[in-house]
Every structure is written in C-alpha cells, then in structure tokens.
C-alpha cells in the first residue's frame, strides 16, 4: 500500500461522507429514507441502477473471467444485459404504479393479506442475505489484497461505512454514492480500455488475432466451452441470469425512487446503455489482462482472477492508475452493500414491523426508528455471517441469489399483473414453492455436495446434477402459483380490474 492509494482512497471516502452529511439533512420521513422521496430523475436513477448492478463481482469478476476463460467469461454479461428487457417490459412500470417501498407492497396492492406480505418479505430477505454475503466475502478478500489488511478488518471497514451511509443518509445518500461510483467506474474502465486498444494499435482484428495465441487455451480461448462444459448446466444458469434480475429486491427497490412509471422506464433505458457499454469494455479489460499481464500472474495473485483489472492497470498505467482502479473497486463495493442493507431493512421495518405487526398504523417517527434499527440489525447480522463465510464461493452465492429471485419473485409478479384468477393462496404458494425448491435443490447439488473432499461445502454424492437449479425451480414457482390458485378457487375480479387499470395507466396511485 503506497501513499497514492491512501490519498485516492481517503478522497473517495471523504466524498461519500460529505454526501451522507447533506443527505442526512434531507432525510426526514420514511419515504425519504426508503426512496429518497421519489425525487430522482431518469438519468440519476439509471446511473444508480447501473451502479447497483455493476458490483465488484461484475467489474473485477467478469474482467478476470474473460482474462482467464475468454468467451465463456463474457457469457454472463449477455444474460445480465438482456435481463433488462424483462425488467422493462414486465416489472418496472407496474411496480412503480402499484408499489410504495417494497415488492411486497406491489403484490399487496392486489391481495392485502398478511401471509402474502410475509412470504414476499421472506423471499426478499433470503435473496438479500445471499447477495450480501457474496458481496462482503468478495469485498473482504479484495480489500485484503488491495490494501494488505486482514480479512476481518476489511469486512468490518466495509460494514461500518455501509452502516453510516444508510443509517444517516438513507436512500438519498445510497443513491448518490451509487451515482458517483458509476461515474468513477465508467471513467476507470474507459481509461483502461483506451490503453488496451492503444496497445493493439486500435485494431480489433489484430486484437483477436493476437488473443488466439496469447493464452494457454490457444484458439479455444475465443470460443465457447473453455469453462462451461455441461450444456444443461450452462442453460440453467443463463436462464437464472436473464429472469433473475427482474426479481432482485435491491434492483426492484430502485423503481420506487422516481416519481412515475415514465421516469422508471427512462431509468431502465439509461441503465441498459451504461451497463451494456460497460460490458463491452470488459472484453478489452479481459483480453488486455490476458495479453499484457498473463494468466500465470493473474491466477497466482488470486485464483479466481479477481485481480486481473488492477494488475492490468499496474501494467499499463503504473502505480497511479492501479491506485485509482483499486479505489474505484472499493467505492463499488461500498455502494452496492449500502443498497443491499437498505433493501433488507425495508423488508424488516416496513413489511414485517410496519405492515404486519403494526398493521400499517405506525407513526412516522416509529417508522423511521424501525427503519434505522433494522438497518443496523441487517448490517451487524451480515457482517457476522461474512466473517464466518470467508471460504464460500462468491460466484456460487451470486448465481444462487439470481436463481431464487427468478423462482420465487418473478412468477408472483407476473401472475399479479397479468392473471385474473390469481389469488391469495396462489401468491403464497408461488413464492414458497419457488423459494423452497431453489434452496432444496441447491443444497443437494454439486455446489454443496461433492464426492471429492474439500471441493464443496460437504462431502457426499450430489442428489441433483446441476449446479444451478433454475431450469427446474423457475417452472416450479410458476406451477406452484397455478396449482395454489386453482385449489383455493377464491377470485376477486373487481380487485383485478383495479390492479390492471392502475398498473397500466399509472392513475389512482394514492389508493
């Protein structure tokens, strides 16, 4: 750790604290706390969505994966980007038109039943916890490498920062940290891409020709199949990615921070362009790292390849660029975990405490207090989990979060908006079937059970062949909702008419 890195690092931390200070002054109600008062513009929210999405796993993980596995490393990005069409066409606008703070609000616009809200809050919390552990474990390992401090101190540092942002600045601070981070991340990536292209003489054809011989994989590097060899497993995973985004609670929450469906829509447009352009640039980062750093050095620094981008910065731009990229990675981690804390807190404080226990009658003061207690609770809990989960595979946890989101949340969202006969029993059964089937199938999959000692969490024979169960659990979520609905037979056509009109026109939001 040198002086440059410390200075850039401190500047970024100071900047986020200044934001938090000003945001705190404007955070006076539960609506300010959860949704920044709904006052973000399209491009601001689009940047924040992109910021939420481009976690350290995306930035460092994908660059590293492309460096090590070529095309297969890039494959995820396709799913992550196309997923925004599901978000835009299916969930973004109805969610804004029907909901207030959480996904459960939106589903309850139709059912108004405690058990539905409880089930929705449960699946949101489960997804947030998996995603959060993944981010914190990744962050801990990364900061340990970047700044040379112990894993536990690294997790605590990130944990304390995220708690400060959320506790004092709520969604306003979280969103602006997210926006600044998105700008810095794009800037860093553009600089690195430019330097890589310069080294390939700004000739894409030449770049591909050189890459054919630059890695140990030879020609195979540019083709599918280096990393993902089991076809059905790959398809299942890609299905989780494309359908999961539309069910991720921390992404869904971002549609409540704008004033109407029109702004929600334009924020998705902004996010799609930013995320897409970013993913295209990760190809240059990955190729550059493979060509100018080399697979040996990348894997010896970190076996998963997470250090590819910082090492590339070191190789092409020296210590200053390396420090800048490391600081950007740190800002990325902070912004994403802050968004997750807020999402988890909203499920506890708004859904469970405010709506289920207090039956929606909590005073503004009680709501604010509950939100803040819940934020601290979620932070402390996830820091503790992350400290014990150090050895878990980060990529596995993230893909599991996407799988649960696609299986438990997407079916109930689709049915709520589009299916007239859908009812309370169907909603509960859709969420629980998706959630439980995803969890059970994963717990008996090769990611958890492996005959090889030490290759997975437990030693044993996997009962389910795929590492990601999405191809089974997503249909199960839909079937669960269908069967549950038919079994109970209750139907409220009047309520569906209301939901349909409100979801599609944006009118009568106050109801």
């Amino acid at each position: 750790m040198n002086a440059t890195v410390i200075i850039i690092f401190l500047v970024i931390v100071a900047m986020t604290l200044v934001i938090t200070y000003f945001a705190a002054k404007r955070t006076n109600s539960a609506s300010d706390f959860y949704t920044a008062g709904g006052g973000l513009t399209g491009w601001q929210n689009g940047m924040a969505i992109a910021g939420d999405y481009l976690s350290a796993a995306s930035f460092l993980g994908i660059a590293g994966a492309i460096a090590l596995f070529g095309f297969d490393g890039f494959l995820f990005s396709i799913g992550y980007l196309v997923a925004y069409l599901v978000v835009l066409f299916v969930v973004a606008e109805p969610l804004r038109n029907l909901g207030k703070y959480t996904l459960a609000d939106m589903i309850n616009a139709r059912f108004n039943a405690k058990k539905v809200r409880g089930a929705a809050a449960l699946s949101s919390i489960t997804i947030v916890i998996f995603y959060m552990i993944a981010q914190l474990v990744g962050a801990g390992a990364l900061i340990q490498l970047l700044f040379g401090i112990d894993y536990i101190w690294a997790v605590l540092l990130v944990g304390i920062m995220m708690t400060i942002y959320v506790l004092f600045g709520g969604m306003t601070a979280t969103s602006w940290v997210q926006i600044i981070k998105a700008v810095l991340l794009m800037l860093g990536t553009v600089i690195l891409s430019f330097l890589v292209l310069k080294n390939f003489n700004f000739n894409i054809m030449e770049m591909f020709t050189q890459m054919k011989t630059a890695t140990p994989h030879g020609e195979a590097y540019l083709k599918p199949g280096v990393k993902y060899e089991i076809p059905l497993d790959t398809i299942s995973l890609m299905l989780a990615l494309v359908l999961g985004t539309a069910g991720l609670p921390h992404i869904l929450m971002r549609f409540f921070t704008v004033r109407d469906a029109k702004t929600a829509r334009s924020s998705v447009m902004w996010a799609t362009w930013i995320v897409g352009i970013f993913y295209v640039m990760t190809i240059f980062l990955g190729f550059g790292a493979a060509a100018f750093v080399g697979a040996d050095l990348i894997t010896s620094t970190n076996p998963a390849g997470n250090m590819a981008a910082p090492l590339l910065a070191q190789a092409l731009g020296g210590d200053v660029l390396m420090s800048f990229i490391s600081a950007v990675a740190f800002a990325t981690i902070l912004a994403v975990v802050a968004g997750l804390v807020l999402t988890g807190a909203s499920a506890f404080a708004h859904d469970i405490y405010g709506q289920i226990i207090k039956k929606g009658k909590a005073t503004e003061r009680q709501q604010m207090l509950a939100a803040r207690y819940a934020s601290v609770g979620v932070s402390v809990f996830s820091i503790l989990l992350a400290i014990f989960a150090q050895s878990l595979n980060v990529a596995f946890l993230v893909s599991l979060a996407f799988c649960i989101a696609a299986s438990a949340n997407l079916p109930v969202i689709v049915y709520t908006i589009f299916w007239k006969k859908f009812n309370t029993a169907g909603a509960v059964s859709a969420i629980l079937t998706g959630l439980i089937s995803a969890l059970v199938l994963v717990s008996v999959s090769p990611s958890v059970l492996s005959p090889e000692v030490g290759a997975a969490i437990f030693t044993g024979t996997p009962l389910f062949p795929l590492t990601n169960p999405a191809i089974i659990s997503i249909p199960l979520g839909f079937i669960g909702g269908f069967v549950g609905t038919l079994v109970s037979r209750e139907i409220d056509a009047k309520k569906f008419a209301e939901v349909k009109v409100r979801a599609n026109t944006g009118g009568f939001k106050q109801l």
Partner: protein, 135 residues
C-alpha cells in the same frame, strides 16, 4: 370538475361516463371509482390491445433468440468458425444480442410514449387528473 387525488372532492357523477363512487371498507375512508367500468371502456381496452400487440411478440422474440443462442453454443460448435479474420461468429451473435437489447429498448420508449397518451386520455375520460405524487 376534476376528482381530487386524495379522493375527498367527489360530488356525484363528474363526467359524461359518470363515475360511480362507492366507499371501500378495507381501505378506511378512501373512495374509489368503478375500476371495472374503466376496464370495460373502449379507451382502456384499446390501450391493452396495443400494449399486447407490442409486448408479447417482443418478449417472445428476445427470450427466443437468447435461449436459441445459449442452446446453440452449448450443444453445437456451429458458431466457432471465423467470420472475418480471426473473429469467430459467436462474438458477432453475442454482440447481436447486445444490439437487440438496445434496439428493443429504443423502440419500446417510442411505443410507450403512445401508451402514456392513451392512458392519459382514458383516465381523463373518467375525470382523473394526474397530480403530484402524494406519499
């Protein structure tokens, strides 16, 4: 006479269609219009038709192409051959899916502006006016 967004200024039928105002017990004192009547109105039905006409084929298209791409690259090596120089076809198709996403988003933004107009007209017919979002 426009209906207030908070629902307190409701005085009998307010448009030529007429809004039947009835209290909803589950929501306390708020009064709501007859949503089934709006749902059955020509304007709303037209909006839903137009939306479906775009969204169903567009969703089928992008999900279909996405799945087809993944199936092809997982089970075959059809796309491994180079298209130009040393760039294999698979990169062209991958970028094609990126381009598809941006194109569909842009087209949808245009379409949605029309949907907004239709929705506004329908709501206006029933005496509803868009006001500041109250939370």
């Amino acid at each position: 006479m426009a209906k207030s967004i908070t629902g307190e200024v409701l005085q009998g039928p307010v448009t030529k269609e007429g809004i039947e105002v009835k209290p909803v017990d589950t929501r306390g004192a708020l009064e709501v219009p007859d949503f089934e009547k709006i749902e059955r109105s020509e304007g709303f039905k037209n909006l839903m038709r137009k939306k479906k006409l775009f969204l169903i084929p567009a969703t089928a298209l992008f999900l279909g192409l996405y799945l087809a791409f993944n199936i092809v690259i997982s089970y075959t090596n059809w796309l491994d051959a180079p298209i130009v120089g040393d760039i294999p076809w698979v990169w062209v198709f991958a970028f094609g899916l990126f381009a598809m996403t941006w194109i569909l988003v842009t087209v949808y933004m245009k379409q949605a502006a029309q949907f907004d107009k239709m929705a506004e007209e329908t709501l206006g017919e029933f005496g509803y006016e868009e006001k500041e979002d109250i939370r």
